[in-house]
Symmetry: C2
Subunit: 349 residues, 2 copies
């Protein structure tokens, strides 16, 4: 029973997802699935996407992610076009984190019979539009009657040139930790949506930017491919569960990463929203989640390439920390002191 650690046999019989947590459960499935892997599986469960032998030049990438009503979205707080875009983006971000290119998608639509066709049309318009932005298309799917909530699961297939593949593994002691864009936007957007009257005197473009970050998400597909093509990243992941949690996935068991709090690129709009809410903007940047930026380890000799990436794409890329030998911990350096941070970030169960 890999992944359930030291749980006694008896307690494991009554364990639930809530009691063991999402990651223990995934570890457990991974251990079982691994026994069946063949030579054509390059990377299986445990990274952003599966990497498979495809043809001589490219690997096939396969990933799935979903949007569930009341878990990932509330119908009254989003519109179907944005939701369709978001479903593509949460998957596209995983392809981006491998340096890959999106190609095809299939969708599972699980919805109650009284779902309005007009709503679904707008959802598909958003989904198809967003796929097209990434050069991909919808080629199949399945439609089932659900008795409860709306559940949409999308699977995206992509490709990456064999030489350019980047995975979660590979960071080395001394590597720098870099992140694209700014953090905390989606968290701030959700706060605005929940209590718009508290923020109505903020600049309208800032408000719209933050709300879009929450509703639509985004994915650094082009940037991910660019980072991979210049060999800048030794390992990479997307920031979906929050910087602290996702950084830990780059550490493996034998590295620590020290994040310099002063350098974390918290989005200025996020800082404004957090201040008005009496909350800590830095914490939202560290643990807010759903930012879909890229987080990667950079060999120190390549740090000068970061500026050229910024110049070429217009997207800021910030060094926020460094890796050192350790045991998989994420440490936060704040005003000269290093704190061990309790893992904060999105966990489903």
């Amino acid at each position: 029973m890999a992944g359930l650690g030291s749980m006694a046999e008896e307690s494991s019989k009554t364990a639930t997802l809530r009691s063991v947590g999402e990651f223990s459960f995934i570890n457990l499935v991974e251990a079982r699935a691994r026994a069946f892997y063949r030579d054509d599986v390059v990377v299986g469960i445990g990274d952003d996407t599966a990497v498979l032998h495809f043809n001589d030049r490219e690997f096939l990438l396969l990933t799935c992610d979903g949007q569930i009503e009341d878990t990932h979205f509330l119908c009254q707080l989003t519109d179907p076009f944005s939701l369709g875009r978001r479903l593509v983006n949460v998957n596209a971000s995983d392809i981006a984190a491998m340096g890959g290119k999106l190609r095809w998608a299939v969708i599972a639509v699980n919805v109650p019979p009284d779902t309005e066709v007009a709503w679904l049309e707008k959802f598909f318009d958003g989904l198809l539009w967003q796929l097209e932005q990434y050069g991909a298309c919808l080629v199949g799917g399945n439609c089932s009657k659900a008795t409860g909530k709306l559940v949409f699961d999308l699977t995206v297939a992509g490709t990456v040139l064999k030489d350019l593949l980047v995975t979660r593994k590979g960071a080395q002691p001394g590597d720098l930790l870099a992140v694209t864009g700014t953090l905390g936007r989606a968290k701030a957007g959700l706060e605005i949506i929940k209590a718009p009257h508290c923020f109505q005197d903020m600049p309208q473009d800032v408000i719209e930017n933050l709300i879009a970050a929450y509703r639509v998400g985004g994915a650094r597909v082009e940037l991910g491919a660019k980072i991979a093509s210049v060999g800048l990243a030794r390992s990479m992941i997307d920031v979906s569960d929050g910087l602290l949690q996702d950084a830990s996935h780059l550490c493996g068991d034998d590295l620590d990463v020290v994040i310099d709090a002063a350098r974390v690129p918290v989005n200025p709009g996020c800082v404004m929203v957090a201040e008005r809410s009496g909350e800590d903007g830095l914490w939202w940047g560290l643990a807010g989640g759903e930012d879909y930026e890229l987080l990667f380890s950079v060999p120190p000799e390549k740090v000068n390439l970061l500026d050229s990436i910024h110049s070429a794409t217009g997207v800021p890329v910030t060094v926020v920390g460094r890796f050192c030998e350790g045991k998989g911990r994420v440490l936060l350096e704040r005003e000269g002191k290093i704190e061990t941070v309790k893992q904060g970030g999105w966990q489903h169960f």
Copy 2:
């Protein structure tokens, strides 16, 4: 608004999935998605699986299907190991219908937090075991918190040699309609599960066979590949929604198919269960659904190959009808009279 036919603009605004039906909705999505297809899409939405340019020798096949609590299964009427197997089989059957081979799968697991890990372990044991039977493995997935029912969506990627691809299109007037195995098993199995006391004096092996057909399903993967490899089928589909409904998908717009009622291979166990239930066994065979047998069109000059397929595999293959010029209708010939049958078969909405 392709697929919604002659609906007035006004009524389409309030149309629901229930009012337009599953297939109209799929047509609508297909029409929108098709506009974005690129050259690498050989077959998109509308067939059993998507067919994509993969490498010089093979096409990539991509399909997804799910199992939703209270729609496809009831927890009290199935066990998790069987359910895991069934989730693989419903997808494998779609790969089989193209003459393909299963390679990889990714799963979306949407479950409430109080789901027992032990139950999920058995589910994954069944899923992994069944994938292994087809030479495939689980390489990724996603786990999300659902607030309502259990929803499992599996996406399977497969391959097929370019020369051997079989799709739903291609039947010609004069072709024969053939089906593998026997029909009505799953429907009969469900009846037994719902009222076991009514059937307890039936032979135990018959009861078990029918119940397994309902709980586990099956997929004619090896047989599909065999049929494709000898060039026996001009077009093919799997029987998931019932013989009548699936046969109509092989007709297109310009063929009819006449099914000879006397030749439909209704499973003998199904006939027994239907008789005791005061129902028509033939109707269960024609419309019961979830049989996961293969249904295909055979050029008349190749009909002698059917016997050799039977001899080589032990699976009966039966000619049940013939195609003629027409307009997409399924006709039933019974005691010398030809009836137009109302489309009977599983529709979700």
